[in-house]
Structures are given as C-alpha cells and as structure tokens.
C-alpha cells in the first residue's frame, strides 16, 4: 500500500514537474499568505498548523535557526512552487529522485540525511503548517492571537529576583539608618555635654576644676573599657583556637570557582532535571560520578544560550567537547574538564553513594543541602565523623518494602509484633568502626 502510494505521488510529482517546466520559465517562489489576527478561521488554521509543527517538525527544525535540518524562515524563496514544497514535506526522497534541483542541493548539503516522510499528512494539513511557519516568522502566536504577553515563566523569574534584591535593599537601608542615628546620637551627646559645661561655668565654677574632674572620670572609664576589651579578646581568642582546631581538615562552606560556571540552581531548580540524569553512578556505584561532556551535549546541541551568562559558558562546553555549533558536528578531540573537587572524605573512610541513595533511599539534599538553589556548589555538610555517626544513630532504616534488608528476620518479626517502632542504622551495625574504616 505504501509502495503504491509512493508510485502515485511519484507520478503526480513528475507531472507537477513537467507542468512547472512547461508553464513557467520565470522563478515563482512559494507565496503563503500572512495570518490576519482578526480572521478567526485563518487563526484556527494556523493553530492547527502549529500543533502539527510541534508534533512532527520541531524535533529537527526551528523557524529562525538551523537545528538538525535547515532554518525554515527563508524556505519560501528557495522553492519554486507550493506543490513541490508540499510534495517534499510528504515524501522528500521522491522529490529528490524526481531530479528537482533544489531538493538535491539540500540533500547534498545535509550529507544525504533523509528527512522522514510524512505520508499521513494531507495537503491541507501541510498548508496549515506553512501558514503557521509564515506567521511564526513574523512573531505571531496563533494560540494567543491578541498578542497579550503572559509568560508565566518570565514573570516568576522576575518576582524571585525582585524578592532577592529587595532583601539586600532592606538590609542596606537598615544599616544606613543605623549609621545616621548613631552619628545623630554622638552629635547630640557632644552638644549636651558642652551645654552643661557652659551652664556650670555660668554658675561660677572654674573651667579648670570642671575639666580636671572630667579627665579623671574619662581615665577611669578607659580603664574599665580596657578590662572589658581584654576579656572579650580572650574569649574570642579561645573560641577561635577551639573552632579552628575542630575545623582543621573540614571544609564546610567550601565554594571554589569551577572551570565552567555550571548552575545547579538553573538545571535542577528551574529546569527540574533529576540529579541522576547526570550523576549516573549514584545508584550503581560508590561514586556519584561527574558527567562527561556527552551528557551536557544531550541538550546543549540545541540549547546554545543560557539565561545568565549568555553564550559564554555554553561555548566552553563546545570547546571541551570539540563540537562546532555552526557545522553541527564534533570536529576536534574532546578535552578533560578539570573540575575542582569540593567534597573530600579522608582516605581512611569508606563511603558508598549507592548504599545511601539506592538502598537507604536518602535524598541527595540530606547531605548536599539545597543543591537546587545553589548557583555555585558549596560543601553543605561538615563531613565529620560526629556528623556521620549522629545520622546513623537517628535515621530509621527504610525496612518496609525494601528487599535489601529482608535478612534481618528478627527485627522484621519484632516490628510485626509491635515490640519495636523502627530500626536505626546503628541497630544494624552502622556505628561499628569497621563499617567505614577498613
């Protein structure tokens, strides 16, 4: 059936071609009318075209840029007749075989990568798609013919940003206010003390005597202040020494600059990409694993510009992976990205991601903090032994529906009989030394 269809469209094409050759010696081009936003019927057709376009074409085409296939905005002048262009959409291979010059040129230009045939589309449907393409070129959105802008996303982004800058603004205002008040206070104090001095002189006291008393009280005050300062200094010093000693070898809050300013806030927070999409090892091995550029390129072959750093940071991925966005191909050998390691567990401690994530079903955020809000990743946990042990003491193991723990029959029995509320990691040996040190 399919073959007969092709034969039919093939002969149709040949006749179109002949008619074209015979009837026109001038180059016609494809004329597609613009959509009048007031014309409900035309808008509805363009809307149908939009749905078809999104379902069938966007995987390879965009209007204004080359993706897998060419940009579609300037297709109108390159084709001779609408009939031929429709025939191409429905079955490009047949048009190529018919010897159509432009069809063959495009086919060669794109390394003989065939465009899939769309035999199920009717001529009318293809025309609707054209209508939409033409409208989209002009920035017209048929699902929103009034042209009202209600991009929820942009609005959402703006409000969160506004809230952020609002917060820092208020602190600034508060600090400023405080400074002004302090200066005002000092000035007032100065004035009152001068005034009282003048009043006392006016009452007949000698200026020297007043100043002598003042100097004495000042001296006493300085001495008192000095003692307080020494006490504060000693406390601070002790605190610093203690704190410094505890923090030796811990890097909580470490937030180094990375070779690419990759934002988890964007990829996890806004785009909602699962952690495991990139950290593929996390459920299978000891390491969560840092993704290679091929995983970046799953999306960034298409996404060439980010919302914050524009093209700069994404271009770095292209440099590392050897991708040429103009040619749409890998042209150079990939280079290693030397990410700066943030979390470093001492060599004498064994830690396994899959044990915690896959078996224990612990959320990544438990140890890594609100990664979905971090523009630059920092170490959230102290990674100290006390921190590990505390968690092992407090955390209830997910015993229910977890085959991994089926061997603990006694505990399962006790839970069933109601003798036991739950099992902590400590109960199954999670605080034994050799669990982590061996």
């Amino acid at each position: 059936m399919f073959n007969s269809y092709i034969k039919r469209s093939y002969s149709l094409l040949v006749s179109f071609f002949l008619i074209f050759v015979i009837s026109t010696s001038s180059y016609a081009g494809v004329a597609v009318p613009d959509v009048d936003p007031a014309d409900a019927a035309a808008v509805a057709k363009a809307k149908t075209g939009m749905d078809l376009f999104k379902a069938n074409c966007t995987a390879c085409h965009a209007i204004d840029r080359k993706v897998i296939g060419p940009a579609l905005a300037d297709v109108w002048d390159k084709w001779d007749t609408e009939e031929n262009l429709i025939a191409w959409v429905k079955n490009s291979q047949a048009v190529i075989k018919s010897g159509h010059a432009h069809a063959n040129k495009i086919y060669e230009e794109y390394n003989k990568m065939p465009m899939p045939a769309f035999p199920t589309l009717s001529d009318e449907q293809v025309k609707d798609v054209f209508l939409y393409m033409k409208a989209a070129e002009k920035g017209f959105d048929p699902s929103n013919p009034g042209g009202k802008k209600e991009t929820a996303d942009a609005a959402g982004g703006a409000t969160t940003e506004g809230a952020d800058s609002g917060k820092s603004n208020t602190t600034l205002i508060l600090v400023g206010l405080f400074a002004v008040l302090a200066i005002l206070g000092a000035v007032l104090f100065n004035i009152t003390s001068k005034l009282s001095k003048i009043a006392k002189v006016a009452q007949g006291e000698s200026l020297d005597a007043i100043e002598a008393v003042e100097a004495a009280s000042k001296k006493a005050l300085v001495k008192k202040l000095g003692v307080v300062a020494v006490i504060i200094a000693a406390v601070l010093l002790l605190f610093n020494i203690g704190n410094g000693a505890i923090n030796l070898g811990r890097s909580q809050g470490y937030k180094p600059e990375q070779p690419i300013r990759f934002s988890h806030a964007l990829h996890v927070g806004q785009n909602k990409i699962e952690c495991q999409y990139c950290h593929t090892g996390v459920e299978k091995s000891r390491h969560a694993s840092i993704p290679g550029t091929q995983i970046c390129m799953n999306c960034h072959k298409y996404v060439q510009e980010g919302p914050k750093y524009g093209k700069d940071e994404i271009k770095k991925i292209y440099d590392y992976s050897g991708w040429d966005p103009d040619k749409g191909a890998f042209v150079k050998a990939p280079k290693n990205i030397e990410w700066v390691q943030i979390h470093n567990l001492p060599d004498h401690v064994y830690f396994n991601h899959s044990q915690h994530v896959k078996v224990g079903k612990i959320e990544c955020q438990t140890c890594h903090g609100k990664i979905e809000e971090m523009e630059t990743v920092e170490q959230f946990a102290p990674l100290s032994m006390g921190w590990c042990i505390n968690c092992h003491r407090e955390t209830k193991v997910q015993f229910a529906d977890n085959n991994y723990y089926s061997v603990f029959e006694k505990y399962h029995d006790e839970i069933k009989k109601g003798k036991r509320a739950g099992v902590t990691v400590e109960d199954i040996g999670g605080t034994e030394c050799q669990k982590c040190h061996y």
Binding site: K54, C60, P114, T120, D153, G226, S251, N271, S289, N336
Partner: protein, 199 residues
Amino acid sequence: MKQLSYITILSFIILTSACIRNSKNPGREYMPDMVHSTAYEAGSVNPIFKDGKTNQLPPKGSVAQGKYIYPYDNTIEGYEASVANKNPFTFTKDEVDNQGQHLYKINCAICHGDKGDGQGHLVEIGKFPPPPTYLSGVLLTLPEGKRYHTVMYGKGLMGSYASQLDHRERWLVLEYVKTLQGDAGASAPATDSTSTAAK
C-alpha cells in the same frame, strides 16, 4: 599608648577570626597524608596515562565479561537494519512498572513527558522543542529495534543514552514506553511500515 595596644590586639583577633572561614579555600588540615589517597582515585587526574585521566576505557578490541556488543552501525543503514533487533529480556510487570518507570522519569520524561506525549518540563518552559509524541503517529508503531537503536546512538536532537543506561536498562525503559502507549505499544511490530527511505 596602652589603649592603642588593646585596640590593635582586639582588631587583630577579630580580623583573624574573619579569615579562618573563606569559601574559596578548603581550609587547613593536619596529617594530609592520611587524608589524600596516594593511589589514584576514579575521578582524579593521572599523569601516567596519555589523556591524563584515571578512568580509562577498555583497550580497543577488548570486551569486558558479560558486556553486550551492539551489532548495528550508527548509520542510516544501521538504523534500517536494526528492525530485526528484538528484546532479549523478559521483564516482570513489577520490574517495568517500578524500575522502568524510575529510569524513564530520570532520563526521558524531561523531554518526552511523564505520559509520553512529548510535553516534558523542558518543553513546557520553552527551553527545548517538543519531541514527537509516543501516543500517536509514527512512533506508536515504530519497531522496538529502531527504538533501541535511537536510545543507543541518538537520533536528530535526541542524544545517545549509551553512557547513561546499560543494555538491560535500555530495554527496560523501552518496555515502560510501551506501557505508556497502551495496547498499540504492547505489540510494537517487528515488520517495518515506517521506512524513511522510499524504495
């Protein structure tokens, strides 16, 4: 003079306490030779290998035990030939519904959508163009071998999932895609009715 020395000591202490935590600096450590592995770790730089990585691919031509070799080439002809490829696993319903769905949610739903309608989150927020829906048209009846070929090598705007999913996981996630497609997917045909190249 005395006051001055108090003030210097105080400001010195306050300053040093501010210095101790600097987010650009991992901090000090004692006995670094017990902290840092002398052996090379999986992700670390390695001067012994030419490419500077500790993680190495197996030497060309060698195959790890139990490792699957995909017999079709990453070419248009390979794609057409992959029609003959069949799922060698039999998965239980439980495996497909749980593990399969889990893998799908992680790797595919972001573009293809939870329901497979091509309306994943990236599409909804306008960052990625919609992929074709699984639920109608060409993909509904696409042979499973071709689906596997696409997950293996990528196709058009979709990247390869060879590094993210292993042989079993690829078939498992595709089996879940079939359940999204309902009855039509369950019998994803082996014969090819959707050839791109007209013969």
